[in-house]
Subunit: 227 residues, 4 copies
């Protein structure tokens, strides 16, 4: 009785149709709820940072070594912050082209938020036990799962006709591939874990952001050339 669009709620009314200004507010609420979860998850990372207990009247050296001991946690903070930031930026970019919602898209989005909000936990673990291969694997898989759902959302939205009209297949695929690249690198880099150890893997992840950047710059002419 209803085509694939029957569940869809767009800005200019749904079924049963709310007034158009409401439809816009619905869309905004979903985006701002998502933004809030991203923002809280990214900011909660800091509460895992904890200076070890110091003696009553610590020497300067004791303070310095306590600060040094906290550096792996600061590294984990920066890595997770950059990853969540990249994921937020990807979310932001995807929803420039998604103009309507349906209940499946809301559910997919909620699953992503659940995985994003989970990240402070593996971050705390890797900050404390970054030398444990199992912890490194749990961290990589957690962050990859949170990332993979993004392009899945994008592909779903496109198939369900929730994106704005006129997107070329090539552009849709480009966005999806770009979205899968970060989680792939995170998990893929685990193959060198047995050979190079946990530190090499963690340092390797630092390359994700600049590589993404270069990819974006290199691919932009192709991207815009097809519009």
């Amino acid at each position: 009785m209803a085509g694939p669009d029957a569940d869809a709620i767009d800005r200019s009314g749904g079924d049963p149709e709310p007034e158009s200004e409401h439809a816009g507010l619905d869309f905004e609420r979903m985006l701002f709820f998502s933004d809030a979860v991203f923002a809280i998850a990214i900011t909660l990372l800091v509460i895992e940072l904890q200076l070890p207990d110091l003696p009553e009247r610590p020497t300067g050296e004791a303070v310095a070594s306590a600060l040094a001991s906290v550096l792996p946690q600061v590294f984990a903070y920066a890595l997770s912050f950059a990853t969540i930031g990249l994921y937020w930026y990807a979310h932001w970019r995807r929803f420039r082209y998604i103009v309507r919602l349906d209940v499946q898209l809301l559910a997919l989005n909620l699953v992503q938020l659940g995985l994003i909000a989970f990240i402070p936990f593996p971050t705390a673990m890797i900050g404390e036990h970054g030398d444990q291969p199992l912890i490194v694997i749990v961290y990589a898989v957690s962050l990859a799962l949170a990332g993979v759902i993004g392009p899945l959302t994008w592909l779903y939205a496109w198939r369900a006709g929730l994106t704005r009209p006129g997107l070329s297949d090539r552009f849709v695929r480009f966005v999806a591939v770009r979205g899968f690249s970060v989680p792939l690198v995170m998990v893929g880099s685990l193959v060198v874990l047995p050979v190079l150890g946990t530190s090499a893997v963690e340092i390797g992840w630092l390359l994700i952001a600049p590589v993404q950047w270069l990819l974006n710059r290199g691919l932009r002419p192709i991207e815009t050339g097809h519009w």
Copy 2:
């Protein structure tokens, strides 16, 4: 001297009337404040997740069993995340049809937010003591209370004339029943607690989301058929 609408503040002015753009901003502030509380409560769930202390140089097995010991807490995280997510989605849906505010609606909404923001506490308890019947009951009742206030808000808004015109009685009742269903199942499932134990109850709750889903799909034709 004043009918039931005397306290009401709608988008196009109240009493004393603010400018119409202000009225819209008032409405948005209430929604975004609500969204923020939902988003923070849902994201704070993660800070209860804590890996048990490990020895200085733990073996891989020690790490694995520490991770395994944290699984009930991850389960509780997922369950509460899904429940708050469902409640947020219900809130979002209700306010597609509520177009005006009054002070009673604001108060009801604030009570719901207080119950939503409380959820991280029973979640932490059930994550740690999920085998204790009393804790399971406290958890179920807390989440049910947070849910029950939602359809009450909806029924109040409809009676007070704060919903947009033209909603059929049948639709209003449908939304209310759907809203009561999650809390009812949460509390109702407690009857099997003495027979089947805490684990069965907790696993049973996992069925809430898919059941809701099927209900929604099955009932949609009826719903839209009456518009």
Copy 3:
């Protein structure tokens, strides 16, 4: 060279004037930043709730008494939630009539947010040490300070010409008095502390919300009669 309005930034442009759509966004950013701080402070209250440690395999009675021991903290949670909620509602109401910003108003608002964000700390203290008169005093003064700045902001905005035109003096005073009433009751009730003890004071605070409510209902005819 500049009148009192020289610093003011209103929705339709300031000095140097941003585009009008920007001015509206400026105003919204300030409101949403405020809402976010209120929402986070109100939601952070929950992380102070902590079940005492239980033995490995606790009896039902041990669980019940642990839950009972946490009730004063739940009471403190509810009290602070209601107070922050009332303050947020007052903030929301005030800014229905404030249509322009200046730097002093932003500073006053920031001071209020700093005092609101501080509330989880005295709440944690009174939850744990609610029988200590000094803690009760610190709690009452902290919450009163966070409240008192609200009507001060209102009076400043009115004097500086930042409210929308046409507000009667009587209405302005009415809003201010209503705003001062909660902090006054909180601090004023401390006079019975030496006689009736800490519990009486805390229970007395529960009357704030219903009293406010009755006041609002009783005064509304007067209020609207002067418009």
Copy 4:
């Protein structure tokens, strides 16, 4: 092939161009995401405040001295709250003149948010170990870094043509200098550390806010004179 504006996304469409209403929402999402991170970081400061453990039935004196021992942390709370507040206000002010986004601006903004969200950690450290020169230095450098990125963002936006047209060079420089002043004072004041000790430095920081204030008032005629 593309000028400096090729990456830019403005309110009236980008490349590939989203619909104009979307472009506005993109801009808002970035601002609200930023506001949320500022708001969460500023509100998380409070969770570092912790009353020392008290004996079972503490004397009034024991409570008073526990409260007194927490004062340095309250001082640190106030100082960091004021600093983040100032930075938020500067961010708010800058984005009154920035009307378009590009990916570099988003990246710079994200780096600033990462540094802002980090502030609760040095705040916790200085609250507990404010007498340690090394901690004071880490605190000052952390807050200065979070501040310095602000005017860099501003200068980048101006060079990349993302600010609204018609800003005078003098105004752009004025905003940049004002932005650099807080971090400069924070780090510069460290030169008196060896002579006057940590307390003098911390008390000196309290002067930042009123000095900024006077600067703003004094310079406003010059500023507006050039518009």
